[in-house]
């Protein structure tokens, strides 16, 4: 099976406190640790496991600049066969639809049976997979937490729905799936693994390579524009306990006792 996985380089929220810059135009990016979007990492692992089971290839693709290449190499070190970088100034300021438009053009340059995305990324929109599927007229399932590839024409996929329940579906190939975390255990990638793929060539496609005009992608085409970042005014907010650790412990025990939090 030929599998394409769409990935994104994002600030790692488990490693960083996200701060808004003084003018609110952006977040403070200087000291941020970036990594591959967590959901995408599960998607790549799933693709590799499918390939190991039934054969084929895994290609990872991203829209970004040359720094995004490190994310592609990381996923190739996990076991993806190919990487593709989609990089052009014209892509900057794209909204979700713009990103899906860029990916669609790249998908059509290849031949894929299965396209995976992470269920969501840093902006929490969970939108690109569903948009891409609609543009390609392929069936789509979101929040996928199990994939059964025993049939060559269709997959049996589980979707994570409310209450920890799982919705089972049969979906015809080719299709697009957005992958939920927890579907597998992504393998560890060591420095040695990344060194091994350090010199593998990663083709870069620009807007003109993809036949995309400025009216289709980038800030000009975006109907959805972020105006600023801000830290929301805390409503009531928590009463923050102050003082030494001992004092905090003492206050907390007092509160727990008062509220029935210690049996």
């Amino acid at each position: 099976m030929e599998i394409l996985v769409c990935v994104k380089r994002v600030p790692d929220t488990s490693e960083n406190e996200i701060e808004v810059s003084k003018d609110g135009a952006d977040i403070e990016r200087d000291d941020l640790v970036y990594s591959v979007n967590e959901w995408d990492n599960y998607a790549v692992e799933e693709a590799i496991q499918i390939k190991d089971k039934i054969g084929g290839s895994v290609t990872v693709i991203t829209v970004g600049d040359e720094e995004a290449e490190e994310v592609l190499r990381r996923e190739m070190a996990m076991g993806a066969d190919n990487g593709i970088l989609l990089d052009d100034e014209a892509f900057e300021g794209s909204d979700g639809k713009g990103i899906a438009t860029i990916l669609k053009a790249a998908v059509e340059k290849g031949k894929y049976d299965l396209i995976l995305t992470g269920a969501q990324a840093d902006d929490g929109a969970a939108q690109v997979g569903g948009m891409l599927a609609a543009m390609l007229d392929m069936p789509y399932a979101s929040l996928v937490n199990s994939v059964d590839v025993s049939d060559a024409k269709k997959l049996k996929v589980g979707r994570e729905i409310e209450g920890g329940n799982q919705e089972m579906n049969e979906i015809e190939l080719p299709c697009v799936l957005s992958i939920q975390t927890g579907i597998n255990e992504p393998r560890y990638v060591g420095i040695r693994g990344i060194r091994k793929v350090a010199s593998v060539e990663i083709p870069t496609y620009t807007a003109s390579d993809l036949g995309l005009g400025a009216d289709a992608v980038g800030a000009g085409a975006a109907k959805v524009k972020r105006l600023d970042y801000f830290v929301p005014e805390l409503g009531e907010g928590a009463e923050m306990l102050e003082g030494s650790t001992e004092e905090k412990v003492a206050k907390l025990i007092e509160l727990l006792k008062a509220k029935g939090g210690i049996k």
């Binding site: 909204d95 392929m138 907390l252 727990l256 939090g261």
Partner: protein
Amino acid sequence: MAQFFAYISHGDGVADDAALEMITAAKKIDPSASVTAIVTGSGPDLDKVANELTASYPEVWKFNNDALAYPNAEVIRKALVNNLPADCILLTTHDTLGMDLAPGLSIKLDSAYVADVVDFEGLEGSDIKLVRQEFSGQVSTHVKCDAGNGAVLTLRPGVFPADESKSASGNVVDKDAGDVSTKRKYLEVVVAEVGDVDITKSEILVSVGRGIEDQDNLEIVHELAEAMGADVSCSRPIVDAKWLEKSRQVGTSGLTVKPKVYLAVGISGSFQHMGGIKGNPFVIAINKNPKAPIFQVADVGVTEDILEFIPELTEAINEAK
């Protein structure tokens, strides 16, 4: 202004809570908005829901079709595309159905798409100004959405107050879904397994999140819970890492709990997690990141490294006994 629609999900013959929230949201975009409700399904449950909604919506579109008996987003999307007017504004919920349905719907309608809206700040021409969050709720953003060609907007559940006026006395309009053949077939729902401890019945929960860093560190959480007489629950990353069973997970994709006291340790507090906490418990959050969104909703917060703080707390509780 464009026509407003609200796609409303339902279960057991009752409309989702978001049904009344979407009216408030539409009025925040445009105070003069008149919203048409859309429900899909089959059988008597659907009729019941459609009738219920006439109290709040002047018009309710009812799609009764066996293919819609289970809410398969691929089928619903086709029914909507076959029927919605161009340039309309469609509201629905940012939940597991909305995420499945809405992004593709915006493409098929050639309209703008914004997910997980938490507030609207009105309309300027055809631009809707709205608020959403990024980076797991650590920062908010103002967003301008050009709805000149229509828009599909999903709303965060529970943030818009319900419109309880129920003075619409509307009518139900039967709609033909049209061709809804799809390449995705719904099979069944596999119900979550019940775990060794039923956290939905726990009065005191110590809930652990990503901040615990390592599986071995869970020991200190179990010790704290034992000292308090509490049960241990967790947030999603702990289950993803397979450190605790799914039956311990609190949140919209896990279980809904209603304890008296909820002590969250190392949990940032995504809305999906907080959505699983009901009954207004006393929430205490301990997290080393002072910007963690959980401090916005907790009653009491402590900014400390849980790996150092929890053992001290446990020891002090045991001494105080």
